[in-house]
């Protein structure tokens, strides 16, 4: 057991983000390090107040932009270490409320290829992933929808299964259970889900996170359609004409299209783009998100296959 491995495990805290590298079927080979920046622009005008869809002229359009650093290191051919840190900025086009910005949560993950098996003309792979996230700054989660995050520390075990044909077509299903720590508010009392609480501590319901995709990946190209599901296992609804609250039952199902392409030149540089839209939800905005960025792979050992 390498000391660095132990070190990283100890610091591994959690993940609510279903970032592609955590959920996808790709693994960095040993001593490869893939890193880059991804920019996301997300906006919504309508949101679900409980199950009731509405807009709000005192919010207008809620805009969240984020730039995220991502790194993925091949510890071995079967074990990848992943890290992500986003800088998030929010604003509303109407109303008086100020936007917020800042560094949000660090996400760390270990991805382990549990099983790899040739079945007929394809390959079945199963991954076990343990990820975690924790806030890197003291931002407030009690200012939704303009907070930059939930400020909860999370731990999330995940299983991913994928079947890929030799032709490049693949299907993937991934599911995670997300444990979320309590969060602290700046106020001594709050009302949610029909009760008043005389404490600044908020119990955060855990979540189920699902990710399902169908795609094609061969040589330098990857294209896929995906569904991202978030189900919060408890929590109250936003009351009529109330603000959202950090522990609300925030559910969503998003449809996305992903494309990634390794440029012929410069070698090892990939461009990545993802567009997604909320099909249905509870206590969340119906957002359209566009993500674009680049990833560069460093090979720390000479690899004859390249």
């Amino acid at each position: 057991m390498r000391p660095t491995f132990v070190f990283i495990i100890l610091f591994l805290l959690a993940s609510r983000a279903s970032a592609q590298t955590i959920t996808d079927h790709l693994m960095m080979p040993k001593k490869d390090f893939c890193t880059g920046f991804l920019y996301t622009y997300e906006r919504w005008k309508d949101y679900w107040e409980g199950a009731q869809k509405r807009d709000n002229q005192n919010i207008g359009t809620l805009i969240t932009s984020q730039i995220m650093w991502v790194g993925n290191y091949g510890l071995t051919n079967k074990i990848n270490l992943i890290a992500m840190v986003p800088y998030v900025k929010t604003s509303a086009t109407a109303g008086t409320l100020a936007g917020m910005e800042g560094i949000q949560d660090l996400t760390l993950a270990i991805k382990y290829a549990l099983v790899k098996k040739e079945i007929s003309s394809g390959t079945f792979t199963a991954f076990g992933i343990l990820s975690g996230s924790t806030p890197l700054t003291n931002y407030t989660p009690d200012y939704l929808p303009l907070s930059i995050g939930m400020a909860s520390t999370t731990v999330s075990p995940r299983l991913t299964a994928t079947y890929k044909l030799a032709s490049g077509w693949y299907a993937l299903a991934s599911a995670a259970y997300v444990w979320r720590s309590n969060v602290s508010l700046d106020r001594p009392s709050y009302f949610t889900d029909g009760n008043i609480y005389f404490t600044n501590q908020v119990w955060m319901p855990n979540q189920f996170a699902g990710f399902y995709s169908l795609g094609y990946n061969k040589n330098a190209l990857q294209v896929e359609f995906n569904l991202t599901q978030q189900n919060t296992l408890g929590g109250g609804d936003i009351r009529k004409q109330d603000m959202p609250f950090v522990s609300n039952r925030m559910n969503s199902m998003r449809l996305g299209v992903l494309g990634m392409y390794y440029l012929p030149k410069p070698k090892n540089l990939a461009l990545r783009a993802h567009v997604s839209y909320t099909l249905n939800g509870l206590n969340v905005g119906q957002s359209m998100a566009v993500m674009g960025g680049f990833l560069y792979t460093f090979h720390f050992v000479k690899n004859d296959n390249q």
């Binding site: 002229q57 382990y112 003291n138 999370t154 075990p157 106020r187 009302f191 009760n195 005389f198 501590q201």
Partner: protein
């Protein structure tokens, strides 16, 4: 090696398990109450709305309840104690922290639950909550800060007056009924902390009747919840061996009578029944006028489109920029007539004085001087100051803004100060009647501060910073009423005045907290410095009236 990794994975998953059971710590901040002093003479203290502690008469238990009946009531307690369920034991425990503290908490919950503004209509107009149609959209009430301040004061005054009457009769009939059931019969256990007071009438039953009847009027859609809580409180004292059915029935009738005196919407003779087990006690109450709750002018607080326009016209006539709503669509101003609602200590005009509070408080005479003109250099300077807070607000200032925001969906600033007071009242181990006095004083001061502040706001009708400079963004919602003076500052200064009187050793802390609450509105960029400073001194002055009354009410 592979196996090793699988083991590590499993271990990590197990380590994650504690996240599954993360107790937020019970939100319970109260402990079983054993009063430091039972305040046996509280029946002699000054009442607020009752003309005297014996205005409502209750019968001598020796006359209404024969010895045989009394013994049957003791048997009923023994029978109940022999089969207490876990739920019933929890109910006893729940109410053993002191009914006054518990009801105050429950009340704050109701305020938070009902403190949501109406949703605009599709045509951009706004509906108003309707007490005759409380379940509809919008729900009734909208327990906004002035509404809540008034409500908190009425309920706590009702509770206090009812307990003063209960204490009066405990003393009057102490030879008829000197001992609690557990003292009379060794087979009866005492399941609540023992309090050395005559049990008739039961203080818990008295407050259950007074508070629940008040809350039912204020929150008509929560009647089921309120009724259950009140019944629980009475059951708890019976199961705990603290009171018999007669003690409870008399207390309940007394409490209901006090609530009726305050909320009666007609005159005449009322019969108030208190029932417990097989016992019913009827009290008679004759009222020559409707209750103060019905005649304090709240009905005029909403105003009309014409009266809202008149406010703007008056500001324009003075050469000032009138307040406009920053909400979309523009929302009518919150309770513009609230400044004319009767205060505690109001002289009552031509009619007899409505309460026993002295000195008399004339709200309009306490009104702060005019704010800097909207066209003045001073206003420009103050606007620049707000803008600099908006642009450079720090994380610790945001934390102060959010700590004190107490906006929609919360128990409001008066509720926040009740929350603060709770800890001191609990730690001082006040008797029920003294705890009720503390909350009555505090909340009467809040109501007076709210009326004074609203009178000022609508007299000057001054704009918010964000109205004069649209580039000012705020870190909390902009309240939908004029800026001058700050309600938070007025309420908090009044709170500091009353709490400093009650707990003088903590004066420094209360003043610091009040200042912080006041400053939070400037940090949040929703108030000018003039609003918070004038509001603060106004609130201190109004609070001092309540303190002056407290110094002479016989409780010292």
């Amino acid at each position: 090696m592979k196996k090793f990794y699988i083991i590590v994975f499993t271990l990590m998953a197990l380590l994650a398990m504690p996240f599954g059971c993360k107790d937020i710590g019970s939100s319970e901040n109260l402990f079983p109450l054993t009063p430091a002093n039972v305040d046996a003479n509280a029946g002699t203290w000054k009442t607020i709305l009752l003309t005297s502690a014996n205005q409502i008469s209750i019968p001598d238990p020796a006359v209404t309840t024969q010895q045989a009946t009394y013994l049957t009531e003791l048997e009923a307690i023994k029978d109940a104690q022999s089969k207490l369920t876990a739920d019933q034991k929890r109910t006893i425990e729940y109410w053993s922290v002191g009914g006054v503290l518990r009801w105050n908490q429950l009340f704050r919950k109701l305020v938070a639950q009902f403190n949501l503004p109406p949703v605009p209509n599709v045509d951009g107009s706004y509906p108003f909550p309707d007490s005759e149609n409380p379940f509809s959209n919008p729900q009734f009430p909208f327990a906004n800060p002035p509404y809540a301040a008034r409500a908190y004061s009425y309920v706590h005054v009702a509770m206090y007056d009812a307990l003063l009457a209960a204490w009066y009769y405990k003393n009057l009939y102490k030879s008829s009924r000197p001992d609690s059931p557990y003292e009379v019969d060794n087979a009866i256990q005492s399941l609540m902390p023992k309090v050395d007071l005559p049990p008739y009438p039961s203080e818990e039953a008295t407050m259950s009747g007074a508070v629940s009847e008040m809350l039912k009027v204020l929150f008509p859609t929560a009647v089921e919840e309120i009724t259950k809580l009140a019944a629980d409180q009475r059951n708890a004292v019976k199961w705990a061996g603290k009171a018999t059915d007669t003690d409870i029935a008399a207390g309940l009738a007394l409490g209901k009578a006090v609530a009726t005196l305050i909320t009666a919407n007609s005159t005449g003779t009322f019969t108030l029944s208190g029932a417990s087990g097989a016992k019913t006690i009827n009290l008679s109450l004759t009222l020559a006028s409707r209750g103060r709750f019905r005649t304090d002018n709240l009905g005029a607080a909403v105003g009309s489109a014409a009266s809202w326009k008149a406010l703007a016209d008056a500001a324009i006539a003075k050469g000032e920029t009138p307040w406009i709503s920053l909400e979309v669509p523009p929302r009518p101003p919150m309770l513009p007539g609230f400044g004319t609602v009767k205060v505690w200590g109001d002289p009552g005009g031509a009619t007899p004085k409505a309460d026993n509070i002295t000195p008399v408080l004339i709200i309009a005479s306490e009104r702060p001087v005019a704010p800097p003109s909207t066209t003045s250099e001073e206003m420009k300077r103050q606007l620049a100051e707000v803008k600099s807070y908006a642009k450079n607000v720090t994380r610790s200032q945001i934390s102060i803004v959010h700590k004190w925001a107490d906006g929609a969906g919360t128990y409001t600033p008066p509720g926040h100060w009740n929350d603060i007071a709770e800890e001191y009242i609990r730690d001082a181990k006040f008797s029920e009647v003294r705890a009720a006095r503390a909350f009555a004083l505090l909340n009467m001061a809040f109501h007076n501060a709210a009326v004074g502040c609203w009178e000022t706001k609508y007299f000057y009708f001054n704009p918010r910073p964000g109205q004069l400079d649209g580039s000012i963004k705020t870190t909390t919602g902009v309240p939908n009423f004029p800026a001058y003076t700050s309600g938070h500052s007025t309420i908090s200064a009044a709170a500091a005045a009353v709490l400093s009187y009650l707990f003088p050793q903590n004066t420094h802390y209360f003043n610091d907290q009040a200042k912080e609450a006041s400053n939070s509105r400037l940090y949040g960029a929703i108030h000018f410095r003039a609003d918070i400073e004038m509001g603060f001194s106004h609130g201190s002055k109004i609070g001092s009236y309540t303190v002056n009354f407290a110094q002479t009410d016989g409780a010292n």
